[in-house]
Symmetry: C2
Subunit: 529 residues, 2 copies
Amino acid sequence: MTELSGASRPSIGDYLIRRIRETGCRHVFGVPGDYVLNFYAMLDRSPLRVINTCDEQGAGFAADAYARMQGFGVVCATYMVGGLKLLNTTAQAYAERSPVLVIAGAPGYRERERHPLLHHRDPATAFREIDRVIAEIVRTKRPGCIELPRDMVDMVPVGDLPSPVPVAAARDGRPADEVVERVAAVLDGAERPVIVAGVEVARFGLEPAVRELAARTGIPIVATFLGKSAVDETDPRYLGVYSGAVGDEAVREYVESSDCLLLLGVLLTDVNLGGNTAVLDPERMISLSAGGCSIGREACPVPGLELLPALARRSLRVHDRSTAPTPVRERTPAFAPTPARLTTERLVLALNAFVDETTVLIADVGDAVMMSMDVTTRAPGRFLCPVYYSSLGFAVPAAVGVQAARPDLRPLVLVGDGAFQMTGMEVSIAARYGMNPIVFVLNNAGFGTERPMIDGSFNDVAQWRYHLVPTLLGSGKGYLVTTEDELAAALAEARKSKELSVLEVVLAPDDISPQLRRLCRRLAEGVKR
Amino acid sequence: MTELSGASRPSIGDYLIRRIRETGCRHVFGVPGDYVLNFYAMLDRSPLRVINTCDEQGAGFAADAYARMQGFGVVCATYMVGGLKLLNTTAQAYAERSPVLVIAGAPGYRERERHPLLHHRDPATAFREIDRVIAEIVRTKRPGCIELPRDMVDMVPVGDLPSPVPVAAARDGRPADEVVERVAAVLDGAERPVIVAGVEVARFGLEPAVRELAARTGIPIVATFLGKSAVDETDPRYLGVYSGAVGDEAVREYVESSDCLLLLGVLLTDVNLGGNTAVLDPERMISLSAGGCSIGREACPVPGLELLPALARRSLRVHDRSTAPTPVRERTPAFAPTPARLTTERLVLALNAFVDETTVLIADVGDAVMMSMDVTTRAPGRFLCPVYYSSLGFAVPAAVGVQAARPDLRPLVLVGDGAFQMTGMEVSIAARYGMNPIVFVLNNAGFGTERPMIDGSFNDVAQWRYHLVPTLLGSGKGYLVTTEDELAAALAEARKSKELSVLEVVLAPDDISPQLRRLCRRLAEGVKR
């Protein structure tokens, strides 16, 4: 039991579990090992549910995706061999602001005879440290790590329990109010302002404030690529993804000719902004982010995103949207299958038609994400991809994390063959825990993203018959899809199925999306120069 | 072309490739990415052969195994997402002294406008740094890393090429000679000395010197677990693996009652020495290792392993070996298959009978390595396992590295189901490059090593039908083995096959080797205390 009841006192392990549960988190991802085995046994007895993945990498990605959906994710691994395998996934969580707690097992203090770290044996310190790390993860939406020596798991400290840590310090309102007024004045003075929504809008739960601001002022919204679906893509004021020269041309033109861009929670990074093809004039930008605030080239000393609710409620001029382009979703043609060989372009239309209110679209890096750019999700927070950090292999384990967090939703996974060979066998974890993602393996015989840059046999991948993966697992169903009709039939069956579905979609090696073709051209310039 | 011919001058990439080739290395393992793509294109045109793995983890393990077989291994990955995934495999290479060069791609200098690292733009520095890193890897048998900004790959520096770096500095002979005399005196005065051979004997190519020493003095040899096969296991003076209470009882008793243990290249670590069950009196130990030398409790300021050839050639007393136990290999019963259900104990006998002069036995962590302990290899350097660092998932990618280094040999891989789910799909890389390892997947439905410590559903793994892996790949053949007769039939067929063979060996979840049972008891004491 992890509950504190009356006079019973928690051990360090109990206390950690209790604090994790208080964040709303209900699952822990990981791979056990001897340095963390007794904590796993404690987790097994607790109300938290353990989800074992094939490899620590999969656990790290699953916890990251869980955190993006749920607000807090936990991954638990053993000393060294486990923890080191989590560095890449944790770097991604840091870069893309995903609130993940890493619990790393460790040798017991009594085993470390030469290094008696007496400081940490102070139990009040242990409890306070647990509180501090969890509060910082929640506050900053960045990962944090707790190392748990195995002989401390069951230790019941004496002395007073710490008082709760305040999650966020109170701020002085005056400079913030002043900045809100200045932002309002710039917006009111603009002729054609545009809201650019970034990923922090999703992380900090500010989607309603952004939509309220747009609704009250008539200002159109675009999303960065990493911020796709941070704002409901069916909002009437939402135009589509802005991603420099890589994205939709009408959206690009409108954004780049705007006299005032209001960036909300945007990370200014290369891939996020179309491989540095974005042409944005800092003079015409207002940026409110978790880390700061700027108006034109002037930085203001306040965390900008916190001003958003006040700005959304304030009286502001109503703008005319008549010059804005038709939203991308309204320009996307319907899909009527034919017997023809399937192409990337047609697949995008089929996906767009398939997505519904229960779909979470999860894209891996490569053309999988590029072809997702213009697929419209039907509710906020329903698109996941590490567009900025770009670690291949995120999507399949992310589906496990997503469906653990939201069993009422269904992941639709787009993953290239190269990325699938890294972590794709984590679909077996979905099968083990009764999840039913629909996984599209885009089989174009290699790293299609790299071929247009510099090609060689190093861009080929080994041959796998991906549609046989369910056969290997003895669970779910696989489909080999080469034509539009086969795709339609497989999708109809997958939609009804309660089990894992794996669709191996065979594409010509040179059939890449127009978005990817444009991005590759940009990246190749970087490689060659 | 990477050759320097007459007046043509090498680029930085050319120079790196040329230096790698001079170590005798012929392959580079890795996964490409945009920050390292132009170097991959250069590798593709060079005499070095690129082997693409499914994931960077697999490439790191393959390069480590290649280095263990060949003396130098190379893994090449892209910036961040690739490099960070290599931290765990590189930590293992460090811990177990495997000479691996990590090449990490990076943004070009011209892309890093805010950080013009002018120092590194000095081409003479680049060449000298390449020389220095490679020389240190060769000298210390530890991994090293070179970061390669993508705009430096094709850069042809001006100025003089550096003079070759001496690989090892000359040493003063006198203190060394004195230490040799002291060691000789202790050995000559001992009644029942034993040579304990460690992994460094293999890394530094000292196997002939160890055998010469044993042949001239009659002193019996045992190996540590990590040092298994460092000395030819068919040498008449070789008794078996010493691993504290975990290993063979007669060997343990003989070693622990010896009045003089000559440790040659031994890493004194926990798992290597039977989970700290080894009872060795430092007063009766002489240790000659790459890093130092000690006689009893006294440390001598010389790199001890370098003294070995002089010691082996010196006149020494001949010892009587009549009290030594019969070698483990001579006590191992033959295997005659029956229709009975296969057990771990009988599997060990079958493996022992199957191993021949061309076999490289590669064990993963867990019961796979425990049951390998008493299987006799037929030539030196034919056993690979990260016994000390113990990262699960080494064995299958290691087979790719081994067969790249030695296409004349055949890997026999023992891997548990849990470890196979981490990296086992790298068998597809073996298939892609025409390799034919024989892979035993020991299916006991979970982490059998952990069950005797603390059990719970967290020790279960997802269900895979491992014998269908070749079907998934469309290459090689799979076997489902539950009885001794099925094992014998599968082995006979696999031995003749030129293709990948995957044997799914079904074992009862509680059927673990006696060695593992003893080790788990030790480790569980650590978990619980």
